[in-house]
């Protein structure tokens, strides 16, 4: 735990006692545990005794303790909430897929995910001052990510003295100046979501910050040169690009004309998704990519892109690949408002995308880029400043969302769109925002059900 911090409640003390043993559960002297957790002898001995009686700790000779048999049961951890309705309603699919199928769709081992970084050098006493140099708040997703960060900031308020934010309006020069401001204000750690992946100026600035001893963590968008970063919190853009392309190609039975509507030109997620989609489409010789355009991840950008392609004399395509619903909504609305048959689409994120696609029965696949990474990056920042090892790259999971009946040979749903959509939420809601979304939900306290019986 951070030096000098006194836990305020027994629940905090319990969490920290259970967290103070090494990987092999080597015994520790009682006085050492009390010192590390920051407990007085009177409180500490009572709590340790109670935990020992209940089996959470066990006594080893010479007044030492280690984690007890009950603590071993804490390892039983489901890594995701299981949509228990999904298995029983999924259509029968072949159990054994061919080897080609296995690699075709899903296998995407990435060694970078398994590298960890020791952060002892950055350990300091709480509370911390954290700065966030944000690229912009230019669309709903970015606002949702920021809300998710704020949620985590509130949750960890006792460990955060100041959370300073600058917003650069997607301008690299402005962001460089703002990073200077944040560093000069005495921050302990810098969070950054870069304006542009191709800015050497930004690369140099972040390198300078890192060299000065301030740890730098990127979220969502990273600089071209990652050497300044302790960690990068993101989601698999490759998964988003590849699986959405595979679904679209399989939906079209391997043949058809595609328009590709990417997000913001120069932004690293847009580049990676597009590249992965190209790779996915290239496995289908009958798929012809007729147009590749950018939309700034806005509804207006999506609408204008489609309008422009029609103005150029193109016939309506068989499928429209969008790397996000942020622009996908604009594309969908263009077809709907002009009473044209709506081709198959890809792209999630925005609640309006789900509402429109489901209401108009448009075939689509969605992989929400998780705005909840905002909260995750704050947790990573706190771990770094507490001297805990962190992953070099953190990927927040990206589930596959499909309407019922829209699965293909390679792409199956993690959850159904009909369950994922927030009919009670505004169209601008970002469904992957995580717990911070609950303020928007009208019922506040939502679903309960049985699981892992």
């Amino acid at each position: 735990m951070p030096t000098g911090e006194i836990p305020r409640s027994n629940l905090i003390r319990i969490a920290r006692i259970l967290g103070c043993f090494d990987h092999r559960n080597n015994p520790r002297p009682t006085h050492e545990i009390l010192q590390e957790v920051g407990m007085s002898r009177s409180t500490g001995f009572g709590l340790l005794r109670a935990l020992t009686l209940r089996g959470w700790l066990e006594r080893v000779d010479h007044g030492s303790l280690r984690l007890g048999p009950k603590a071993a049961g804490l390892a039983f951890v489901p890594l995701e909430a299981v949509d228990t309705a999904l298995p029983r309603s999924t259509a029968a699919l072949p159990l054994d897929r061919s080897s080609a199928d296995l690699h075709h769709a899903i296998s995407e081992w990435d060694a970078r995910l398994f590298e960890t970084v020791a952060t002892d050098a950055y350990k300091r006493a709480a509370p911390f001052r954290i700065g966030f140099a944000n690229a912009s708040l230019s669309n709903e997703w970015r606002r949702a990510m920021f809300e998710s960060m704020r949620y985590a900031e509130r949750l960890h308020a006792d460990r955060i003295d100041a959370f300073l934010v600058r917003e650069a309006g997607d301008d690299a020069g402005t962001q460089v100046d703002q990073i200077d401001e944040l560093v000069e204000s005495g921050i302990d750690l810098l969070l950054v979501s870069t304006t542009n992946a191709h800015s050497p100026l930004l690369d140099r600035k972040l390198k300078d910050v890192a060299d000065s001893g301030v740890p730098v963590v990127a979220v969502d968008r990273r600089p071209r040169d990652p050497s300044s970063l302790v960690s990068f919190v993101t989601a698999s853009d490759r998964r988003i690009g590849r699986i959405s392309a595979l679904w679209l190609a399989e939906r079209l039975k391997g043949a058809g004309r595609i328009w590709m509507l990417s997000g913001l030109e120069g932004a690293s997620p847009a580049m990676r998704r597009q590249s992965a989609a190209f790779s996915g489409f290239s496995e289908f010789p009958g798929i012809r990519i007729e147009a590749v355009t950018y939309t700034d991840w806005t509804e207006e950008g999506g609408r204008k892109a489609v309008q422009r392609l029609f103005d150029q004399g193109s016939a309506a395509p068989d499928g429209i690949w969008c790397d996000s619903g942020l622009q996908g909504v604009g594309s969908l609305k263009f077809f709907i408002e002009n009473e044209l048959p709506v081709p198959a689409h890809t792209g999630g994120d925005l609640n309006q995308m789900y509402k429109l696609a489901l209401y108009h029965k448009v075939p689509f696949v969605a992989l929400d880029y998780p705005a909840a990474m905002g909260a995750r990056v704050v947790e990573v920042a706190l771990d770094i400043l507490s001297g805990k090892s962190v992953p070099r790259r953190v990927e927040v999971p990206v589930p596959i969302v499909l309407p019922r009946g829209m699965e293909t040979a390679s792409v199956r749903a993690d959850t159904w769109a009909e369950r994922h959509v927030g009919w009670d939420l505004p169209g601008t809601a970002i469904l992957s925002q995580g717990p911070s979304l609950r303020g928007l939900r009208s019922d506040g306290e939502n679903k309960q059900g049985s699981r892992h019986g």
Partner: protein, 212 residues
Amino acid sequence: MDKTGTPYDKAIDTFEGLVEKPLEKIVSGPLPLARAVGLATTSGYRAVAIAESEGLLSRSTEGVYLRGPSTLAAGLSALGFGEFALVAEPVLIQLRQSTRLTAFLGVLSDGACAIGPFSSGRGITFVSPQRHYSLLTPASFDADRLAEVSLAHQFEAVAAQRAVISSVSDRQDRLCIVGVLLPGTREEAGNELRSELVRAADLLCSHSEKPE
């Protein structure tokens, strides 16, 4: 009998309720969780917030409460394999995505298999594991190879679950394994599944701490 009659008992009751309830039911929202644990509104809200802040609980993107990273780290440390706490999640999620089967980390000891973190399969390959199994066949597991095994519920002698497992690390009388649970109708594990499992095991092995 196992209580001290002090205020610490209540704190431990709260702790136990908060880390157990998410395994029993899907709960989203701090108040429903506090109520499910039997806590009063104000103190319950605060307890849930503290548990999330301390990493005892986490929340999915849909707001559903899960056991958190501190819980996993303490559990794996208690089993003697705490070094896998940071990498278990990405490895198991990748393994589940590539095989579409429930992927898990477990610890074998004296013929018993304690299930650790797991990522559940989807569709008809969905299997929700039990916390503990007995290793039925083979009776002993060669730590150097990958094996298809039958698991029984504790204290029972009938196979309840088949799995393919690979060893990751051994420590005294315990063996850490990574595996996938085979749904009942599946014939046998194919080569592709085996190679994905070996890949996961190799990645975890690279994080295994060497003996002191």
